[in-house]
Each structure stands twice: as structure tokens, then as C-alpha cells.
């Protein structure tokens, strides 16, 4: 312990990351619960009802954080995928595959809550708006990633194939986003504008930010739990997993 600098690379090995993740998970669950209760409390009890949208707008407290997370998790996933390809670390690939289901869940939640919000406000469950369409494509990309990894039996090959796909997807996301936007503006007038947010009351904004933080903490906790399971599954032939399992019996 004479060296004051923590050697971060130590945690790139599953053996040392496994207990660390185990210690961090309860903290992130706790934070998720606190932020979630606070955010929903503000959202449902303190925030005023919207002048135009009445009470229906309150779904924003789930909708917006879910959309943010779905996009951000894809970036994080691609980052880990790239790290795994570049440095050939085992943990990076596990991290990427642990994040994918959470990202897909948030993309789906974002579409679902969006539809629930759209029905009373715009009078329709779905419009081929640029944002809706690109979020749908993001969900397809997640599903493609998960399906590709599930179809390959060898975990190392699955990691690297998935990494290439995730990186190709990252390059494509801006292209898809802009193509969808241009296509839409050419076809139908902007009947629905999501970009012009009504100037939000401070209380609404706080509720939304707290909910976003809760979603962050939830994502981290769930991804860590999933990565722990993946670690055990993939490293089951190693001594440390055997020792760990023997200790539990």
C-alpha cells in the first residue's frame, strides 16, 4: 500500500472486479431508490399541473429520462465494445453485453410512454416523427446486438462480433437521425414539434432531473448485477469462481 495511486487496471480483471461490483451494487440501488422517491414525489405532489396539458404531462418524469438513458447507454456500450476490441480485455465485452438489455428496455419504455403521452396530447399513439422513428431504429439496433451475441456460442467471438456491430451502429446513429429528420420535414409539415419545449416550471425540471438520476443509478446497479452473473458464467472454469462457489455452499 506504499503506492498511493490505485492501480485502476487491477479492476479490469473479473476476479478483482467481482467483489468490487458486489460492494457497489447496494449503494447504487439505495441511491436509485432515494432519487426515484424524491423525483416522483416532486413530480406527483409538488409540481404544478401544466397549463396546456393538464395532468397528462406527468409521464414526462419517466419518458424523458428513459429516452436519455436509451441513447446514452448505447454510447457507453459502444465505448466498452471499442475498449474490448482495442485492448482485448475480457471485462469490456462482458460490460457491453450486460448493458445491452437495459438499453433496449429504456428504448422500449421511451416508445411506450411516448405512445401513452401521444394519445391524449396529439390524439394518436404513433406518428412518423423524426424522433419517434429514430428511437424505434435504436431499439432495432439493440435487438440486433443482443440477437447476434445470443446466436454465437463462443463468448470471445460473440464479444468481438458484437463490438464491431455496436461500432458500426454508432457511426450510423447520426446518419439515421438526420436522414429521418430530413425525410420527415420534406414529407409532412412539422405538425408536432417536440423540440420546442414549453418553458418548464423549476419544480418540473427538478423532478425530471431527479428521475433521470434515479434511472442512471438503476442502470448502473442492474448492469453491475448482470455483469456479475456473466462473469460467473464465463469464468466458471477458473479457480476463483470455484473457490467462491465452494465458500458459499
Amino acid at each position: 500500500m506504499s503506492n498511493r495511486l490505485i492501480n485502476w487496471f487491477r479492476y479490469a480483471s473479473p476476479q478483482s472486479f467481482y467483489p468490487l461490483a458486489g460492494r457497489m451494487i447496494p449503494w447504487f440501488w439505495g441511491l436509485a431508490a432515494i432519487f426515484g422517491v424524491a423525483g416522483l414525489g416532486i413530480g406527483f405532489l409538488l409540481a404544478p399541473s401544466d397549463a396546456q396539458q393538464g395532468e397528462g404531462y406527468r409521464i414526462i418524469f419517466l419518458h424523458v429520462p428513459a429516452s436519455w438513458m436509451s441513447m446514452f447507454i448505447y454510447l457507453v456500450m459502444a465505448f466498452w465494445a471499442a475498449t474490448g476490441l482495442a485492448f482485448n480485455t475480457r471485462l469490456s465485452g462482458m460490460m457491453a453485453s450486460a448493458l445491452a438489455p437495459t438499453g433496449a428496455l429504456f428504448a422500449f419504455l421511451s416508445l411506450w410512454t411516448g405512445a401513452l403521452w401521444g394519445k391524449p396530447m396529439w390524439g394518436t399513439w404513433w406518428v412518423w416523427d423524426a424522433r419517434l422513428t429514430s428511437e424505434l431504429i435504436l431499439l432495432f439496433l439493440y435487438i440486433g446486438f443482443i440477437a447476434l451475441q445470443a446466436a454465437i456460442d463462443d463468448p470471445r467471438r460473440a464479444d468481438r462480433a458484437g463490438a464491431i456491430l455496436a461500432l458500426v451502429g454508432v457511426v450510423n446513429i447520426p446518419i439515421i437521425y438526420f436522414s429521418v429528420q430530413w425525410w420527415n420535414t420534406l414529407h409532412q409539415g412539422a405538425s408536432v414539434s417536440l423540440t420546442k419545449a414549453p418553458s418548464m416550471a423549476a419544480m418540473m425540471l427538478w423532478g425530471m432531473l431527479l428521475c433521470a438520476l434515479a434511472c442512471w443509478m438503476y442502470s448502473i446497479a442492474v448492469a453491475l448485477m448482470r455483469v456479475r452473473v456473466i462473469m460467473l458464467e464465463r469464468e466458471r472454469h477458473t479457480d476463483w469462481v470455484r473457490a467462491l462457489l465452494r465458500g458459499k455452499e
Binding site: 440486433g144 447476434l148 454465437i152 464491431i164
Partner: protein, 222 residues
């Protein structure tokens, strides 16, 4: 470098010509899918004219995708692909040659057929010309992007269905600009902008796609 690409194209074309049934099947798939739409939605000329660009483009995506698995599968099965990967020339260049060959026997027939099928949909002359031009510019991008998916699913369980799951979302920009070019012509906006973007996608796709494809092939060959 050019002689290498030319050699790969020549080889793949010769192999494709020895098995013309495959090309003919994919081409007829295109024709049949396009012909199904008037039967399904009814033969009103006004409606058909509006649908034509989208229908032809979607059918082109599907037909291209149908022929993608063969891009590497045969070479993988008889071990040629391993020899190609061991060659001193960069694998990406060989892939580029294979992509061009794939376009020549899978993309070009669609382009040549498009005007005939467009007439069935009662498209005007200028729209027909733009439709053919947009397919001519856009289909190379389909071959390029599709090669990535074909390499990723090489030798994978249920590869065909998986391939469509991976590749179709990535095809969306090509579809939008390709069909958009024809729509813009019909509505009198001019197709210039769409065709330029389509050209950019095709150049980018054909130029950059061989690298991830080569990386995916090396993963598959491990």
C-alpha cells in the same frame, strides 16, 4: 492494387455466372415482391404512382439482402476465405472487390429492371429516370453495408434471419434518400439534394464498409 481488385471481381463474377440460377432467383424475387403490391392494395393508378418509389426500394432492399449470405458463405465452406485472409494483400481490398462483384450480379439487375416495373406502376418518364438513377447510385451502398452483416453472421446459427435483423436498420438512410429522390421529383421539388446525399452514402458505404467487414471476417475465421 487495382489488379488485385480486378482479379477478385473477375473470379466472383465467373463463379456467379457458373451458377446463374442464384442470380435469376434473386431477380425474380424482386419482380414478384413488386408485383404483389398492386394485387394487395388495389390497382388505382393514383395510389400506385404514389407508392411506387417506396415499394420498389423496399423490394430492392429485400432482394439485395437475400443474396448477401452467399457473399462469403461458399468461400468460407471450401476454405478459400482462409487463404484470402492469409494473402499478403490487405483483406479489406479483397472485400472491396467482392462487394463490387456482389453489386454487379445482385444490384445491377435490379437497376436495369426498375424502369420496366416502374411502368407497371404508371410512373411518369422523369420519375422513372430518377428512380433508376437513385437505384444505380444507392444499390452499391446496400452491397457495402450488407457485407458487414454477411461477415458478422458467417457460420452463425440462424444466420439468414439474423442478417436481416442486423442489416435492415442500417439500410434505412439509403431507403429514405432513394425513395425520397423519386418523391421529390414527383412533387416538383427536384431530386438533386436526395441524389447527392445518396451518392455520399454510397461512397461512404463502399469505401468504409470493407474495414469492419474484414475485421468481422477475421473474428469469424478464428
Amino acid at each position: 492494387m487495382l489488379s488485385l481488385i480486378r482479379a477478385v471481381i473477375g473470379r466472383d463474377l465467373r463463379l456467379a455466372m457458373r451458377r446463374q440460377a442464384d442470380i435469376v432467383a434473386a431477380t425474380f424475387f424482386f419482380i414478384i415482391v413488386v408485383s404483389l403490391f398492386p394485387l394487395g392494395v388495389g390497382p388505382e393508378p393514383e395510389q400506385l404512382r404514389r407508392m411506387a418509389p417506396g415499394v420498389l426500394w423496399v423490394a430492392a432492399l429485400l432482394a439485395t439482402m437475400l443474396s448477401l449470405p452467399r457473399l462469403f458463405a461458399d468461400d468460407h465452406r471450401d476454405g478459400t476465405l482462409e487463404q484470402l485472409a492469409l494473402a499478403p494483400q490487405p483483406l479489406a481490398l479483397i472485400v472491396l472487390g467482392k462487394v463490387i462483384a456482389h453489386w454487379l450480379f445482385a444490384g445491377l439487375p435490379l437497376v436495369l429492371l426498375a424502369p420496366v416495373l416502374g411502368i407497371q406502376f404508371d410512373l411518369a418518364e422523369d420519375a422513372l429516370a430518377v428512380l433508376t438513377l437513385s437505384l444505380l447510385i444507392g444499390t452499391p451502398a446496400l452491397s457495402g453495408i450488407g457485407a458487414i452483416g454477411a461477415a458478422l453472421t458467417l457460420g452463425v446459427r440462424g444466420g439468414g434471419v439474423l442478417l436481416s435483423l442486423l442489416v435492415l436498420p442500417l439500410y434505412i438512410p439509403v431507403l429514405i434518400f432513394g425513395a425520397g429522390a423519386v418523391d421529390a421529383t414527383v412533387t416538383g421539388l427536384g431530386a438533386q439534394a436526395h441524389l447527392s446525399l445518396l451518392g455520399a452514402l454510397a461512397l461512404g458505404g463502399v469505401f468504409f464498409a470493407p474495414w469492419p467487414t474484414a475485421a468481422a471476417l477475421r473474428v469469424a475465421l478464428e
